[in-house]
Symmetry: C2
DNA sequence: CGTGTGATTGACGCCTGTCAACGTCTGTGG
DNA sequence: CCACAGACGTTGACAGGCGTCAATCACACG
């Protein structure tokens, strides 16, 4: 099945973008490339929902996906983002549980679906791939642990400053210095774990203090050093 | 090297307690069993420190270990506990980074050290083991993600109630209904992500409301249903 | 018996969430 | 072309949860 205007070639993903597939043997990659189903989704479209059973995982070829949980009172909590070369939903398949997160496109995306059996088969038969995948998951786990400490101990102000820097590092900036990723105030709040109003107020403060420049959803970091100082403040 | 009064046999760990090693072949397990170094630590002793380089991982044979990060102002954040049959420190070895957490014994423990090379070798050569290990890490990742949502959205009160129930489920209760795991107020605070005084005040409240019974560090859950209601309150 | 660690309680204040009102922008349909 | 709805952004008022500081108590241990 194919839902995409063009079909990405796995060789691009794996070789050019250092994805987890870089250790696959030629025939394994061919199998993945042959078997995969491709999709092209616009911003706002949901890839999978919390609680649903997924029998495979997705590899992002283009765009940005937000992975989030729905918590108390329906409020969302963004766990992480996924972009080109990264994989999502592997956790549910491997631990054989229903999805514990939802995934929504926030920047028009192209991505491929690969079955869980294929993933398990690759893990069982290719030790280098296994090791690479484990490293990847361990990395994600380490980040999650750091975030727990942050969110439990730092003020909303510090966390927001941290997120801005993090977004710059992960997604980069345009020629004019504006963060490439575009998020609503509510989405920012759902990363930081606070109320939309708080994000707005703090962004305004940052602007007043000449730390950032605001133009709607466009955010430009003016003084990264002072922002970092805020992150480490307590 | 051996620091322990007795040397645990890996066959006990793996077969009796469903550890991640259950899929090892006889000769692999023998290798681990032969190579491992055993230690016996009392409460309070540190197994490894955040920032140190570890070239192996530990398998817990007895006791309870707390895994924690040191955050803002030296305040600790407990990430998880490890008990019999569980493994710790594998993340650092596999992602080839320095440890991002510290590990301290909170109930007299016996545990074994196994080198990172052995772990990598097992992963590369035994697909079933790899898969099992991945499932384990995915489980931990899922829990971390849930905790991020909790800590970001729930009140301290709800989180404390949740932790009490969690501790009961993970470590069980004695014949008299008292939680088996014994924690200081500060340790409880470091799980929940709050101040020691807040934990004390809330525990007192719970006691006043006949939800729990307190006797120093001994905590007995009297009304689990109402505690659960507090968890889901908002 | 002095010392130290942990537990408790009270006072105080600020950060932050909630509620409400209003402005802005975009797309849609008449 | 305009009216309208709906999503998003902004600002102000307000209360209360929770962190911080400080003093005191309890208990174990050398």
């Amino acid at each position: 099945m194919n839902n995409s205007s063009y079909i990405p070639d796995c060789n691009d993903c794996s070789l050019l973008y250092h994805s987890v597939f870089k250790h696959l043997k030629k025939e394994e990659l061919d199998r993945v490339n042959y078997e995969k189903e491709c999709y092209s989704y616009k911003r706002g479209k949901i890839i999978y929902n919390e609680g649903s059973r997924i029998n495979g995982f997705y590899c992002i070829n283009k765009g940005i996906i937000k992975i989030y949980k729905t918590g108390v009172d329906g409020k969302g909590q963004i766990i992480r983002f996924a972009k080109r070369g990264e994989i999502i939903a592997y956790r549910s398949v491997l631990s054989n549980e229903v999805a514990c997160t939802s995934a929504k496109v926030i920047e028009d995306a192209v991505f491929c679906f690969i079955s869980g059996e294929t993933l398990v088969s690759l893990i069982k038969n290719n030790g280098d791939f296994s090791l690479e995948l484990i490293k990847l998951i361990c990395l994600e786990l380490g980040e999650a642990n750091s975030y727990i400490t942050d969110i439990a101990q730092k003020t909303v102000r510090a966390r927001l400053a941290e997120i801005l820097i993090h977004l710059k590092n992960e997604f980069g900036v345009n020629d004019d210095g504006v963060l490439k990723i575009s998020l609503t105030r509510q989405e920012l709040a759902n990363i930081v774990g606070t109320a939309t109003e708080s994000v707005i107020r703090l962004l305004s403060e940052f602007k007043t203090d000449s730390l950032i420049e605001l133009n709607g959803r466009q955010i430009k970091i003016l003084d990264e050093q002072r922002l970092i100082r805020i992150v480490n403040l307590f």
